[in-house]
C-alpha cells in the first residue's frame, strides 16, 4: 500500500513538473505547480515528516503559489506579453544538457546511500512530529531561527520598497 501511494504520487508530481516546464500559459504553470507541491506533501508525510508536510501545503501550495497567482493575474495573462512563443527558439543543446545533469545526479545516488545509516532511536517516537521539531528548533537551532525572522523582516521591507518605487 505504501509503495502504491509512493509510485502514484511520484508519477503525479513528475507529470505536473513536466507540465510546469512545457505548458505555455503561465496560469496553467501555476496550477500544475500547486498539484506538484500537493503530491510532494504526501511524499513528505510518508517520510515521517508530518510537520513539514503540513507546512508544505499551508506555506508553499497555499501562500507562495497564491502570491505567484496574484502576480500572473496582475500582469494580465490574456495580454500578448505572455503570448511570446520563445519555446521554438531554444537551442537544441539544452535538452542534452539537462539529461547529462540528471545522469550526474543519479550517479551520485548510490554513493550517498552507501553511507552507514544510524540505528533509529525508537525511544524518541516518530521523528517528524511537531514536538520533536520544536524541541530541536528552539534549543539547538535557536539562533538560526531568530536570524530567519530578521530575514523575513528585510524581505518584507525590500518588497515594499520595490513595489512603491514609481516610474
Amino acid at each position: 500500500m505504501e509503495k502504491l501511494i509512493f509510485y502514484l504520487f511520484a508519477t503525479v508530481s513528475v507529470i505536473a513538473a513536466l507540465l510546469v516546464v512545457l505548458q505555455r500559459r503561465a496560469l496553467y504553470n501555476v496550477l500544475a505547480l500547486v498539484v506538484c507541491f500537493g503530491s510532494m506533501a504526501v511524499l513528505f508525510y510518508q517520510l515521517g515528516a508530518y510537520f513539514i508536510a503540513a507546512i508544505q501545503v499551508i506555506v508553499y501550495a497555499g501562500a507562495i503559489m497564491v502570491l505567484f497567482l496574484f502576480v500572473v493575474m496582475l500582469i494580465d495573462p490574456e495580454s500578448e506579453i505572455f503570448g511570446i512563443d520563445r519555446l521554438k527558439k531554444i537551442p537544441l543543446v539544452s535538452v542534452p544538457i539537462a539529461v547529462v545533469f540528471l545522469l550526474v545526479l543519479l550517479w551520485a545516488v548510490p554513493i550517498l546511500v552507501s553511507y552507514p545509516a544510524q540505528p533509529a532511536d525508537l525511544t524518541l517516537g516518530p521523528i517528524g512530529d511537531v514536538s520533536a521539531i520544536a524541541r530541536v528548533l528552539f534549543t539547538d537551532y535557536l539562533l538560526p531561527f531568530e536570524v530567519t525572522s530578521v530575514l523575513i523582516l528585510v524581505a518584507v521591507l525590500g518588497a515594499m520598497v520595490l513595489a512603491k518605487r514609481s516610474n
Binding site: E2, L47, A49, S94, L137
Partner: protein, 100 residues
C-alpha cells in the same frame, strides 16, 4: 517501506526537470517557478536522508529552506512586477542591462 534510493531518484528527476525549465523557458515567472521546483526537489532529498539517518536535523534544514524560499518569492515577485512595468514584457532576454 519504500527504499531511500527511490526517493533520491525522484528528487534528482524533479531537480533536472526544474533545471531544464530554467534553461528552455524565457518567461521570467515560469523560470522562477522552476527554481521553486528545484528547491522542493532538494527538500525531498533532505527528508529522505532524515528518515534514513533517523535524525530530525534535516527536517529543520527543510524548514529553513522553506522560510528562505518564502522571502525570496516575496522579493523576486516584486522585482518581476517592476520588470514587467519597465519592459512591458516578461521576457528575461529583454532585461540585459544592469541599470535603467
Amino acid at each position: 517501506m519504500v527504499p531511500t534510493t527511490h526517493y533520491l531518484i525522484l528528487g534528482a528527476i524533479l531537480f533536472a526537470i526544474g533545471a531544464l525549465g530554467v534553461i528552455i523557458r524565457r518567461n521570467v515567472i515560469t523560470m522562477f517557478m522552476c527554481i521553486e521546483l528545484m528547491l522542493n526537489a532538494v527538500n525531498l532529498t533532505l527528508l529522505a536522508f532524515a528518515r534514513m539517518q533517523a535524525q530530525v536535523d534535516a527536517q529543520i534544514f527543510v524548514f529553513f529552506v522553506m522560510t528562505v524560499a518564502a522571502a525570496e518569492a516575496a522579493v523576486g515577485l516584486a522585482l518581476i512586477v517592476q520588470l514587467s512595468k519597465k519592459t512591458e514584457s516578461v521576457d528575461v532576454d529583454l532585461a540585459d542591462t544592469m541599470k535603467w
